[in-house]
């Protein structure tokens, strides 16, 4: 084979590599292709097409990543163009790595899960469409959506984590004094009073909505719903858990909120290189970000908060964040 032929067979569209999602493996010329599956929702037709591509170009298996992606393993770089084309560019996109906004994760939300309080799937799709791949110029940026305080997605481990929340209110006339709300409340926020009607202690409420769900007469009703927002989480060598910045953020304001956080991150991390949002918040103090967000979301941002909390790994240097 002469040089010209060789060049033709190994030419690839480097544009495909730019977004990331192609990860070099140990084996010569082999890469993992990380697919973009916001909220982990996969239509059966897409699944079939991915299986066909994996079958044709991979080595017999895919990997389901911890952030709900499907990863094609052992893909030869010569096959990149074909893989991207056969996945169907408009149907199945490749995910990102590097210093960009990553694919949002989400649980099933309220669609079919009776526990879900908000539409996390819609949130994940919206944020993926509007913010995925946005360069942060510093580090990865992860967003996650949980439908309720069970928080299966572990929302506070994300840079910005969202947890579904509702605020309950009692309509006395419908109450039949069955006492189920008081029994269901895990936080002791409801107790049956002298009149055999529930008494509510708002400060103890976690916004889980169990009282509303269990009430057989709809005496307890939802009067407000939205997201509890925690910011500054990360994992790895020096894990941090994100802390509370907003409550009952309306679902429609999610993209705007994340964009505001990204703007603050970009500004404050300037010159500091490869550093996560949580470490910047610790460095600047939580009040700086709080004030920045309060200006734009005055109804949702909390009055005061604490910086992202260090999780003790008990190995090596351990707790020092910076």
């Amino acid at each position: 084979m002469n040089v010209a032929d060789e060049k033709k067979t190994t030419a690839i569209d480097l544009g495909n590599l730019k977004a990331g999602g192609f990860i070099k493996e140990r084996g010569k010329d082999l890469f993992t292709v990380r697919l973009r599956v916001p909220g982990g929702r996969m239509a059966v037709e897409r699944l079939k097409r991915i299986a066909a591509v994996a079958d044709k170009y991979g080595k017999g298996f895919v990997h389901l990543s911890v952030r709900q992606s499907v990863e094609l393993i052992n893909i030869n770089f010569k096959d990149f163009d074909a893989v991207v084309a056969e996945l169907g560019e408009s149907e199945q996109k490749v995910a990102s790595c590097g210093a960009r906004v990553r694919v949002p994760t989400a649980c099933g939300g309220c669609e079919y899960n009776p526990n879900g309080l908000v539409d996390t799937q819609l949130s994940a799709l919206t944020v993926d469409r509007e913010l995925f791949g946005t360069p942060t110029h510093h580090h990865k940026f992860k967003v996650g959506f949980a439908g309720c305080p069970f928080d299966c997605p572990k929302s506070a481990t994300n840079d910005v984590g969202f947890q579904g929340a509702i605020w309950p209110e009692l309509h006395q006339d419908s109450c039949i004094s069955c006492g189920l709300c008081a029994k269901s409340c895990t936080e002791g926020a409801i107790a049956m009073g002298d009149e055999r009607k529930p008494l509510f202690t708002p400060e103890k409420c976690l916004y889980c909505g169990d009282c509303v769900k269990v009430c057989p007469t709809e005496a307890w009703q939802t009067v407000k719903k939205g997201y509890t927002v925690r910011i500054g989480g990360k994992w790895g060598r020096r894990p941090l858990v994100g802390t509370l910045f907003a409550t009952f953020l309306p679902e429609e304001q999610v993209t705007e909120f994340i964009a505001a956080v990204l703007a603050w991150y970009g500004e404050k991390a300037d010159g500091l290189g490869r550093i996560r949002l949580g470490d910047i918040i610790i460095r600047e103090g939580a009040e700086s970000l709080l004030a920045h967000l309060r200006e734009r979301f005055p109804d949702s941002v909390v009055e005061a908060t604490i910086p992202p909390q260090v999780i003790a790994t008990q190995i090596g240097n351990g707790a020092q964040a910076l």
């Binding site: 039949i176 009430c215 057989p216 007469t217």
Partner: protein, 76 residues
Amino acid sequence: MMQTVDLRGVSCPTNFVKAKLALEMIDTGEVVEFLLDDGEPVKNVPRSLKNEGHKLIGLSEVDGHYVLTIEKGEEL
């Protein structure tokens, strides 16, 4: 005479399914009593039957279990 269906010892969602089937056997407007265990059964079944279109007449605790009184609703 009002029927009583004892669903104590029956776990979710079998208790709900049995309650649903029992209600299918009676006429609209008839009232039936279900005995339910404390815990998950009483937290789930009343609400689920209500969502099926039946009317909750009463729910009270008796000797550590619950008595649920339901009036059969229109067929949905």
